[in-house]
């Protein structure tokens, strides 16, 4: 048992500041536990969003000592407790209150990605056959828990506020999940270039670093999508080759 000081962001909209709370911590605790203890003992109206407390729902995203993380998966033992631990809301989205941000924009951005469209069932029983290795490629992206930490850390959104022009890494992962789905026949490549702003990504890989699900966002999702865009729009030879290939 030890007393640890937390600096939590308190406030609404544009008005806010850090407030210090000291609470007792014990072995194995995560940041969300401490925040809950503070809520119960000292600040019952402290706004914090959470659900599963097991790293599966992606609700409790925040910036802990400046690093975008899930509060429920950040053990206190991984932090320097000699100094106050700062917890503040994500920066890429408008503040609702305290640690809670308005992430509604992400839901709108997702709506713009064309939905899954399967090819016709081709097995005799009216379903499909797929090989495990083909399935695994898209499964990596389907691990996404929509915590939006990758959106938070992406400088295009965080610093340049290009929310109107760029759907961000999380939604590119979504697009990749559909594009690489073995059954999908939709074409999202023109949208990726023209509507979703994939060109804004300049591969700094910050998103990959913060992903709590360890999805290789840049290398496995964004770069292959960028390559498809290049193939489709900028490389006549490849385009020709693809036309012939698809006719086989």
């Amino acid at each position: 048992m030890a007393q640890v000081t937390f600096k939590l962001w308190r406030g609404e909209g544009n008005n806010g500041s850090f407030k210090e709370y000291t609470t007792e911590v014990s072995e194995g605790m995560v940041v969300l536990d401490a925040v809950h203890d503070i809520q119960i003992e000292q600040a019952s109206d402290l706004g914090v969003r959470w659900n599963c407390k097991a790293g599966k729902c992606g609700s409790c995203s925040a910036e802990i000592n400046g690093m975008p993380k899930l509060m429920c998966m950040t053990r206190l033992s991984s932090l320097d407790l000699e100094k106050p631990v700062t917890v503040e809301p994500m920066k890429a989205f408008p503040l609702v209150k305290d640690l809670v941000t308005d992430v509604g924009w992400n839901y709108e951005a997702k709506m713009a990605v064309k939905p899954f469209k399967p090819r016709k069932p081709d097995a005799s029983d009216g379903t499909w056959r797929m090989q495990q290795e083909d399935v695994e490629r898209a499964q990596e992206f389907r691990k996404c828990i929509e915590c939006f930490l990758c959106q938070d850390v992406c400088h295009v959104l965080r610093d340049h506020h290009e929310h109107d022009k760029y759907i961000g890494p999380a939604m590119l992962v979504k697009a990749a999940a559909f594009e690489m789905h073995p059954l999908d026949v939709e074409n999202r490549i023109p949208d990726l270039k023209n509507e979703h702003g994939i060109g804004f990504c300049n591969i700094t890989k910050c998103c990959t670093k913060v992903c709590p699900e360890h999805i290789t966002i840049t290398d496995n999702a964004i770069i292959p999508l960028k390559e498809s865009v290049v193939d489709e729009f900028y490389d006549p030879l490849t385009k020709l080759f693809r036309i012939f290939k698809s006719k086989k």
């Binding site: 809520q39 969003r49 407390k53 599966k56 729902c57 305290d98 090989q131 495990q132």
Partner: protein
């Protein structure tokens, strides 16, 4: 109408956006109805994401001896024959098509060598039956339904909580709700309402359930005059994490045991081989070698005792702990690392089959499950009991009010088999959505709503923030959770239940004086205060029903009556609001099986 809230009108209003709610919404919307969905959290965060192991459907992809009849018999046996047999039949027959439908909407299940949907072993299922995606099947399901559903013209009201249903006679006409962000009120006028709010695990201290699971739907239905059924049956999942304290209760999937994980005590003994229940003796392995052969797909082998039903495994772990043979922190050891004796490169195998378990133990407990044993113990996991519904339409005893998923009762009887929940959500979500849409289509206009009643609801809802002093709502919740854990949990007695009810009445008094400082904007103290009524209602219903059942069966264990009674197999327990506002309980006869059902059950013993 009251100017203190915004009004919305929908043919069908769905309360809850987990698997059942989303499936119901998609069904109702595809039938042309206008549909609104209210979710307590953000879309896609509902408790369905926590489901790990898979969804049960007798597709027979791994063992072609499987069919709906075997699934039906397994479900009935698992539920100790208190299930609504008609619901169990619908479920067993329709689960496979629901899984295929989910695949057609984009779900990407793990595959067999032939490229079909892979199925895994789970407790109480005779054959490998669970379609799965590693150990994150629930996430796959909710995301598929979410991504499909958002393109159906459905309105989603995120971070909105319904606190009251509006009733005209015996018919539901609307719902009253608040939104978290600004603390504003919403009034929904609806021709039909589907409740899909999940369970009530938060009534207990140790639980795998999230903050949302406060029995909202059950209480809404009860307050509206609907019957609750089988409320004594709560599933204590045998394997929750026990150490460190802050993660106590977080689920460890049954998939660990399905992949060959074994339970041992402090003496290193595999204690599950003892006390195998008579109902399962002939189908359970009596030696370690046979158990291993079963999990690796030998069709001739019987299942290892670790894969007996959850109620039995949970009680066995408690027995070991009580006998002083528990693990270091008061649980049992769950060991998957041992399979290195059996297979090459077991580390990669475990990480691939159980990725989130590997992740969870590594990050939260500092345990590498490919090399070390886990410590596990029972955790409140699932409510078999809930809102009583019609087995064909999912309509409650209130007209126009439907329920599906965990908040509804009937399918699982006294104990739910793992994997039968996700399929339950799809099968009965679809049915509830279809019947609610049909019901709504027969109604021309929205009913008028009494604005005075709405004003009263607004005043009631604001009371905890309007009070200038009073009690901390979190403390009342914690006290209730302690009481239920100690007196109405895995082991119950008449004296304990009576004591619990006395406490609940005292907490209800305290709740009337709960005070949430601060304003209405995103104020969790206020939300906790409003949830108390629901937690207290379901807790009392659990205790009264548990008192009524003077035997031990499935998820319900009575110290004075440790065995099943003959009479106990003949009735279900019903709780409803009496004329005077008190809670009344009665026994109703179990839904009788048809001759065909009896034959199926006999043939599959």
């Amino acid at each position: 109408m009251s100017d203190r809230c915004t009004t919305h009108e929908y043919d069908v209003l769905i309360i809850g956006a987990g698997g059942a709610g989303l499936r119901a919404a998609i069904e109702a919307a595809s039938m042309g109805d206008s549909v609104g969905v209210v979710c307590k959290s953000l879309l896609g965060k509902a408790h369905t994401v926590m489901a790990e192991g898979g969804m049960a459907a007798s597709m027979g992809n791994v063992d072609d001896r499987d069919n709906w009849k075997v699934h039906f018999a397994d479900t009935m046996r698992g539920g100790q024959y208190l299930n609504n047999c008609k619901m169990a039949e619908h479920h067993a027959k329709e689960a496979a098509s629901c899984v295929h439908e989910l695949e057609s909407w984009g779900a990407l299940f793990d595959r067999t060598k032939e490229g079909k949907i892979l199925q895994r072993n789970f407790g109480g299922h005779k054959y490998p039956r669970l379609a799965h995606v590693g150990d994150r099947t629930g996430l796959e399901m909710i995301r598929t339904l979410q991504d499909h559903g958002i393109h159906h013209g459905i309105d989603f009201h995120m971070e909105v909580t319904v606190t009251n249903l509006l009733i005209d006679g015996n018919k539901v006409v609307g719902a009253f709700a608040y939104e978290r962000e600004k603390g504003r009120f919403l009034l929904f006028k609806a021709k039909a309402i589907v409740i899909a709010t999940g369970g009530y695990g938060r009534a207990f201290k140790i639980t795998s359930n999230s903050w949302e699971y406060t029995g909202d739907g059950q209480t809404l239905a009860y307050d509206a005059g609907a019957d609750l059924l089988d409320m004594e049956f709560v599933q204590f999942h045998p394997t929750g994490m026990v150490w460190p304290p802050s993660v106590r209760g977080i689920l460890v999937t049954e998939g660990v045991r399905g992949e060959g994980g074994i339970l041992t005590n402090s003496e290193g003994k595999r204690f599950m081989f003892e006390d195998v229940p008579p109902l399962y003796r002939s189908s359970t392995a009596d030696n370690e070698e046979e158990g291993w052969r079963y999990v690796t797909g030998d069709k001739e082998a019987n299942r290892p005792p670790e894969l007996l039903t959850r109620d039995h495994v949970a009680r066995k772990i408690v027995k070991e702990v009580k006998a002083g043979r528990g693990s270091e922190h008061g649980g049992a050891y769950l060991d998957i690392a041992w399979i290195e004796e059996k297979i090459k490169d077991s580390e990669t195998h475990i990480k691939k089959k159980l990725p989130s378990m590997y992740h969870q133990f590594k990050e939260l407990a500092g345990v590498d499950i490919t090399k070390e044993k886990m410590e596990v113990g029972p955790t409140t996991h699932y409510a078999m009991g809930g809102i009583r519904v019609d087995s064909e339409t999912q309509m409650t005893t209130v007209e126009g009010l439907f329920a599906c998923g965990e908040c509804a009762a009937g399918l699982h009887g006294a104990n739910r088999l793992g994997g039968n929940s996700l399929s339950d959500l799809l099968v009965f979500g679809k049915r509830a959505g279809a019947h609610a849409a049909k019901f709504a289509a027969a109604i021309d206009t929205f009913s008028a709503i009494d604005s005075k009643e709405v004003d009263t609801l607004v005043t009631q809802a604001l009371a905890p923030v309007d009070r200038t002093e009073g009690e901390n709502p979190y403390k009342i919740q914690q006290d209730l959770q302690e009481t239920m854990q100690d007196l109405a949990g895995i082991s119950r007695s008449e004296a304990g239940l009576n004591e619990a009810i006395e406490h609940i009445h005292a907490y209800a008094k305290r709740a009337e004086n709960a005070h949430a400082p601060g304003n209405r904007e995103y104020n969790p103290g206020w939300h906790t205060a409003l949830d108390l009524h629901n937690l207290l209602t379901v807790s009392e219903a659990m205790c009264l029903s548990a008192e009524q059942r003077t035997e031990s069966r499935g998820g319900h264990f009575r110290e004075e009556y440790p065995e099943k009674s003959k009479e106990g197999s003949t009735y279900n327990t019903v709780v409803r609001k009496a004329q005077d506002g008190s809670m009344e309980v009665e026994r109703v006869p179990v839904v009788p099986q048809t001759d065909e059902m009896k034959q199926i059950i006999e043939a599959n013993e």
